[in-house]
Subunit: 591 residues, 2 copies
């Protein structure tokens, strides 16, 4: 028995010498991707051995791993057996979706300049000789004689000062004291990316910038429609409907904050700042701002400027004095979340001609070229989230996430290695790419005759037989849905390049953001024409960049200043007004 | 028939030549004081004839009016008959209490520097070519590119801009837009003096500083106790009790605001600023601030600094973006209302040694001497408001407000000239002074034998027989209550003078504020020893100075700066810690 450490996920346990690192990982619930089932020919289970001895390189590994990788200690987990205690680094690309979400972006690489700082002080108790009022007493002790105290804090301050026996830690924000607590208590911040479909929330230590805990959940507004247009319509019906849509988000964030705090051993009253990003419609719905004008030409936001309000103003239950910050929107369909992506991708600093794509139900794309940033918004729809796909599902255990088809042989990788129950976005992309590569789909996306294709009304390709159940399939209709979604993205890229007078091949770097974008096989995405046919090394998958941007904005005032400048600088092209956009879109549907 | 104009109350009507100006005033519901019933010997019905001809001066008038007054056109209204159309000025001292409250301080003499200004603008409607977001559109049109928009205004702004067809009047406060309305709509402010017993509210036009309407009501917290100590105890029982006490005031102000707006033809949404003054306990209870520590030594306020919060934060229903301003407190028992009185009395500018007294359930007194301001607070109690007095009542129709006793002859003036039903504060003062002058009370306040004195348990002096009812009386116990109340005030004055190394006679000017203080007969107040025995011309009755101060603070930013400075500069003496205070107080009870 040897002890194996898996990093950075932090799992550790015993492994016998006759179990591969892949087996060992599975015993410890570390979900490493494997398509071929451990026979050494899919090359997906790459890991890096950092410390300790393992068995020798196999021929399969020598074929799959480059000389560079071999030098760095990379191995296929299914081929390597421990010979001693071993420390293994699992790169994000080798983890399945749920675990990748958990790991990615544990830290944010930005200088800490938090809006709130902790100051510990000892006050002097008032006496008949010096009956100093409580507000002046606190401000004088903090060396802030002209400062303010949050009004809600004032309402409990006198009691708290006496309970704490005049010794405390104050959360100070600019010239305002917004919270007090026992000395030593940490102050936390909440960063949230509210997507049309999913919400990602992070609890951050404001003194260190370290992410204490992260958690995701579905956007509960989905009950009112899968895309933002449906929700704008729903919210425009009556003020009560708008209020309901707002409440859903506020309650979701309150729940996330409470759960993250419980996980981290903090009270929600210790959360003194929140930074929230979302697209313009989500931003407005979350704040209770009017959205009617967002749904009608010329699609203007009610609010473009960055906002800083008391979190309590919209019912967020954090520290009573906590502020809520939202970065600026760019336009009606290019929102604050896009600004967060641009920040996280450091697009303003890009020297090369760079494209940043945040793939989601709505996909925003920005082209940075010679210091100019121009964005478009594409209605890519919820197909990548599994909606409107016969066996579509979200990235959850049992979802097919990767597929390889070679003649008769179909290799399937599901999340968690469980029996397949459906097809998530990256799986859908792989399937279509493989069907096209094997000429089971033609250029137009028409499904051809094949032993695995059956016709039950529409043509369907059988992915998996399931005893006692209908087989798991992808239908002709599913392929059409994907064609529309990928065409929306590709046509957006083409329109941006054309407006800048560039060919797509001039794009030197493509940054792909969004949970879905992280999990796709780039080869497949290029193969079906969703992404331009550039060398694969030009693409960089950066995960939930909006969430990363939200965390950067939470802890850095200069990132906030940069966000304001980005929103001012960023140009915007309304695709509906691009003359030949319909033709570009139609052509982009080809596989 | 001649037309008679009564100023400044603004009543006008016909009067026949055989009716005196007093008769004529009564026909027009102008309530002029008259004790003697119009026989020309009480000298109370002084008026000034400004225009037109009246009958010749009578011998009675020649005896009552000084040569100076005669030169200025002063007459006794009961002796003067119109010979032509006449314009008459009625000085506040000649009006009965209710009408005086209505008239006094119709205007505030301070330079207009309002915190909120109206700006009318025309926005350009957004188009597909220039889809300018609504927030930037408004701020750009106002020439405030770096400005802010109140968050609640944002929540309705997009709809309002379109309803108003992009043309509007904005209420701008510093760098913030707080409200929008149709062009030409006036913006108003609300000034409120919350007394322990009464609330006075004023609606003010923010563009002119003019008072549009004024209204008073009882402080509904009275149900929780007549003085602030009782209310501090009540509010300290539980957060729910504190909340109830706060709600009572907030609802009272909402009701007053709604009524004042209805009277003036405005919507409450046009009220964009409020300035509220009250003593420290009332200030804290109104804001939901903790009061427990106010009731315990060393009696420290939770908040001394001036406050500026959104009015909505405590549930005030004005314009959603309206601010609420409260001037600073000085100490636990010298509050923001005292600061307002000092402002209205211009005590900071006083060259002479000046005393300012705001008489109420709690009486605050400030001595200005050689540029130094020092204040005390005296628990004078609610006797002046009619509480704990057998037939005590507030200044309402039927209340005896002035009395003269000459041997057997008792002259009584009631409010509204109605049959007497009780005794208000100024009447109580007069009665005790007259009883003392006629030796029916001795120096200790003991009631002596007299045909009008009966003994029914305690001695009682009969003020009026009432057929079928018990007679209206003042009892020995009532006299004791008044002695305690007046002693509290006098001892406070003596302590202040002593602390400054002055004799009371060194005081060159005495400013008497408060509704009650306006209605008292100064001669009586001096006679019973409530006020020091200074020449009467050193006293100035200025009415509800706290209310006047509130209006000054509402419309003038430099008055707010001055208030902050006053609170910093003002010294404070805690009477409980003055060594021989108990002796001073005991001696001050003598009549």
């Amino acid at each position: 028995m040897h002890t194996i450490d898996f990093e950075p996920i932090g799992r550790r346990g015993p492994c016998s010498a006759d179990h591969s690192l892949l087996d060992c990982a599975r015993q410890l619930n570390v979900d490493i991707v494997s398509l071929c089932g451990g026979v050494g020919n899919c090359g997906r289970c790459r890991v890096q051995v950092i410390e300790g001895q393992v068995s020798r390189l196999t021929l399969d590994e020598a074929a799959e791993l480059s000389a560079d990788e071999q030098r760095q200690g990379f191995r296929l987990a299914c081929q390597a057996y421990p010979l001693s205690a071993v420390r293994v680094h699992v790169p994000p690309t080798s983890l399945t979706a749920p675990q990748r979400t958990q790991v990615e972006g544990l830290e944010v690489d930005v200088m800490l300049e938090p809006p709130v700082r902790a100051v510990e002080v000892q006050l002097s108790a008032p006496s008949l000789d010096a009956p100093i009022p409580d507000d002046l007493n606190l401000l004088a002790s903090l060396g802030m004689p002209g400062g303010r105290i949050d009004f809600h804090l004032q309402q409990t301050l006198s009691r708290r000062l006496r309970e704490l026996d005049w010794r405390l830690s104050a959360a100070v924000r600019g010239g305002e004291v917004i919270a007090v607590a026992a000395p030593g208590a940490p102050w936390a911040g909440l960063a949230v990316d509210i997507g049309t479909t999913k919400i990602a929330a992070y609890l951050v230590d404001m003194a260190t910038g370290r992410t204490l805990a992260a958690k995701g959940m579905m956007n509960p507004q989905i009950a009112y429609g899968e895309d933002v247009i449906a929700r704008i319509v729903a919210a425009s019906k009556s003020p009560a409907d708008a209020q309901r849509l707002q409440n859903l988000l506020v309650e979701a964030l309150n729940q996330l904050a409470a759960e993250l705090c419980a996980q981290s051993g903090l009270a929600v009253e210790q959360v003194v700042e929140a930074a929230v990003v979302g697209n313009t419609a989500i931003h407005h719905l979350f704040l209770g701002l009017p959205v009617r004008q967002l749904g009608l030409a010329p699609y203007v936001p009610a609010v473009r400027a960055p906002l800083e309000i008391k979190a309590r103003e919209i019912g967020l239950q954090l520290s009573p004095g906590a502020y809520l910050y939202l970065p600026p929107n760019v336009a009606g369909y290019v929102g604050a979340d896009h600004v967060a992506v641009l920040l996280a991708a450091r697009l303003a600093e890009a020297q090369a001609t760079t494209l940043a794509i945040d793939i989601g139900t709505n996909t925003e794309i920005c082209l940075a070229h010679h210091g100019r940033l121009t964005s478009v918004s594409c209605a890519s729809g919820p197909a990548f989230e599994g909606a409107h796909i016969k066996f579509g599902m979200r990235a959850a255990p049992g979802a097919i996430e990767h597929v390889r088809l070679q003649g008769e042989r179909l290799e399937i990788q599901t999340i968690g290695g469980e029996a397949p129950v459906g097809l998530c976005g990256s799986g859908l992309l792989d399937v279509v790419a493989e069907l096209r590569r094997n000429n089971i789909l033609d250029k137009m996306g028409r499904m051809q005759e094949n032993p695995r294709v059956r016709k039950d009304g529409v043509a369907e390709f059988i992915l998996a037989e399931r005893p006692g159940q209908a087989p798991l399939t992808i239908s002709q209709k599913d392929v059409r849905e994907l064609q529309l979604a990928k065409a929306a993205i590709r046509a957006g890229i083409q329109a941006l390049a054309a407006a800048a007078g560039l060919a797509e091949t001039d794009i030197q770097q493509v940054i792909i953001a969004g949970a879905f974008g992280t999990f796709i096989d780039l080869g497949s995405a290029v193969a079906i024409g969703m992404l331009p046919g550039l060398p694969l090394e030009r693409f960089h998958q950066v995960g939930n960049a909006a969430g990363t941007g939200a965390r950067m904005l939470l802890i850095s005032l200069s990132q906030r200043a940069k966000a304001a400048e980005l929103a001012r600088r960023a140009g915007y092209i309304e695709l509906a007004s691009v003359p030949n956009f319909q033709r570009m879109f139609a052509e982009a549907t080809y596989l």
